[in-house]
């Protein structure tokens, strides 16, 4: 089975302090994978490594047959400045970056695709609204519309269902499952274990180091989750002692 992303003894971090250490694993192409772990486990850091905004401190991260343009990334909402005067349609249209780049203009056909993406996430009528006036759920729908336009083979979602209502979550989960059905690789950082068990066949449990990776039922055992918590509690100490000492 081919891989979409492979980690070989990978360490990632900030200011030379590792947030992810010695990770060895592979995300299978076409899989639907949840990344779970306690706070500070390095989940978001791992996604930033995959999109290339963090260079490895050690080891390797391979993208197999994927190019940078094949990856779409949903940042955490807290990474977005919602006070910036940007309308929904302008935000969503940025999903066409691969086609229009930094300088191209939107054709009539492109505008139609933007409208269809907005409609697909249930945001018709919100096109000209500033993003600052949207609720958390509406904002997440707009960001999913942008992802739809990116039409990527690998979709990375950083906490996509945090602080949104149940109906929005169900709608967005349907989009995620459709991507999976289309053969795309989807990787999502999640906190809600029930959602992971219900919708994500694969799970990577992280506590700065790999705890387990495989079918969700085999990974999310009480023992593994306890071990992940212990490893992250050990991370409260000096970074170089984290994880390994508690494992």
């Amino acid at each position: 089975m081919t891989y979409a992303v492979a980690f070989q003894d990978l360490s990632l971090g900030y200011d030379r302090l590792p947030a992810v250490q010695n990770l060895d694993s592979q995300i299978t192409e076409g899989s639907l994978t949840a990344i779970v772990g306690p706070n500070g486990a390095g989940k978001s850091t791992l996604l930033k490594g995959v999109i290339g905004t963090l260079a490895p401190l050690g080891g390797r991260l391979s993208l197999g047959t994927l190019a940078r343009d094949d990856i779409a990334y949903l940042p955490q909402q807290s990474d977005i400045d919602r006070s910036f005067p940007l309308s929904v349609v302008d935000l969503v249209a940025l999903g066409l970056w691969r086609e229009i780049g930094a300088f191209g203009s939107l054709s009539r056909a492109s505008r139609q695709r933007v409208a269809e993406a907005i409609s697909a996430v249930g945001l018709e009528g919100f096109e000209t609204r500033p993003i600052g006036s949207l609720s958390g759920g509406q904002m997440q729908r707009a960001l999913f519309a942008r992802l739809l336009l990116q039409d990527a083979r690998l979709v990375l979602l950083d906490e996509p269902f945090t602080a949104i209502d149940t109906k929005t979550m169900a709608d967005l989960l349907a989009v995620v499952q459709r991507w999976h059905g289309e053969g795309r690789t989807v990787v999502a950082v999640l906190h809600d274990i029930d959602t992971v068990r219900a919708y994500f066949p694969e799970t990577l449990l992280l506590a700065r180091e790999l705890v387990a990776h495989g079918p969700t039922a085999e990974v999310l055992t009480a023992e593994n989750q306890f071990r992940a918590r212990q490893m992250c509690e050990a991370c409260a100490g000096p970074p170089h002692t984290c994880g390994r000492s508690a494992a």
């Binding site: 200011d15 930033k48 999109i51 290339g52 905004t53 343009d69 990856i71 779409a72 990334y73 940042p75 990474d79 977005i80 400045d81 910036f84 005067p85 940007l86 309308s87 935000l91 940025l94 970056w97 691969r98 780049g101 930094a102 300088f103 500033p130 993003i131 942008r146 990116q150």
Partner: protein
């Protein structure tokens, strides 16, 4: 009467027309930069950079006297050095960019004041600090118009990545390698416009025409294109009224222009429909069902 008050000073005197053209050029170039500084929450960075260019201008003055070219190049070198050094320190050490920028601009400012005050006269110091908008010559006007043109063209080219760098920098980094280029090109535009502005308004006032119109515009409109247009209009109106006040009441022109911009900012703060004090005090319409 109105003609005499508003038009005749510009019709009769070449130095007033030159001052007006210089101020319009600064308004066109500097205010869009100010809008992005404000939206990136970097308004005080503009102020810091304005101080940082002082020693470069002073060294230029020491070498070549009141030479436009030498002071411009000196200011550019000093401004870019502070911008790049503070960026490098922020990336290479534990110090954040705001703290490293503050450290470098304060050192830079102290060096500049020391040079000007020990080697120049009070008149030179006043020229560098407060500009000479009523004494702009052809070369200065060409410089200001060139900087405005270059700024508008660069911003037009970099508009989309700059918007993303402000609103959603992680997304920009995920789709493009333009993030660092955008950041440093933008900082170059900030320095360039401050250096242009200091010939007319001085190092301390140049940042005023950048930030005050942008802050005023924020209370009137809510889209980026309109923000830039309104900010430019506020800057141009401030320039015209400031120059007229300066002419009729023998006031220093730079502070007069900035104070008019400040007055328009105060007015916008009170009456602006987008988050102004009056708009917030008024009862909201009932929610739609």
């Amino acid at each position: 009467m109105i003609w005499e008050a508003l038009v005749q000073p510009f019709a009769d005197f070449g130095f007033m027309r030159r001052a007006l053209l210089g101020c319009i050029a600064i308004s066109v170039g500097a205010t869009p930069v100010g809008v992005f500084l404000m939206l990136r929450r970097m308004s005080l960075t503009g102020d810091a950079m304005a101080h940082a260019i002082l020693p470069g201008a002073a060294v230029g003055y020491l070498i070549a006297g009141l030479s436009l070219g030498a002071m411009t190049i000196g200011g550019l070198i000093a401004g870019m050095a502070v911008a790049l050094l503070s960026g490098f320190v922020a990336r290479a050490t534990a110090l954040r960019e705001d703290a490293s920028l503050a450290a470098f601009y304060l050192i830079s400012l102290a060096v500049g004041v020391l040079i000007v005050s020990t080697r120049g006269s009070n008149v030179d110091l006043m020229h560098v600090l407060f500009g000479t908008v009523l004494a702009l010559n052809d070369a200065a006007l060409i410089l200001l118009c060139s900087i405005a043109s270059l700024t508008v063209l660069t911003l037009a080219g970099l508009f989309r990545p700059l918007v993303l760098e402000c609103a959603d920098p992680m997304f920009l980094r995920s789709v493009s390698g333009l993030s660092a280029v955008t950041h440093f090109t933008f900082l170059t535009l900030v320095v360039l416009n401050l250096v242009g502005g200091f010939h007319a308004l001085g190092t301390l006032m140049a940042v005023g025409i950048m930030i005050l119109p942008a802050a005023a515009a924020r209370f009137w409109v809510a889209s980026i294109g309109r923000l830039i247009a309104v900010a430019m209009a506020v800057a141009i109106v401030s320039s015209v009224i400031g120059l007229l006040l300066s002419y009729h009441f023998s006031l220093p022109s730079g502070p007069a222009i900035i104070l008019v911009a400040g007055f328009l900012y105060g007015l916008s703060l009170l009456l602006g429909p987008v988050g102004g004090l009056a708009a917030r005090a008024l009862p909201r319409p009932p929610l739609e069902t």
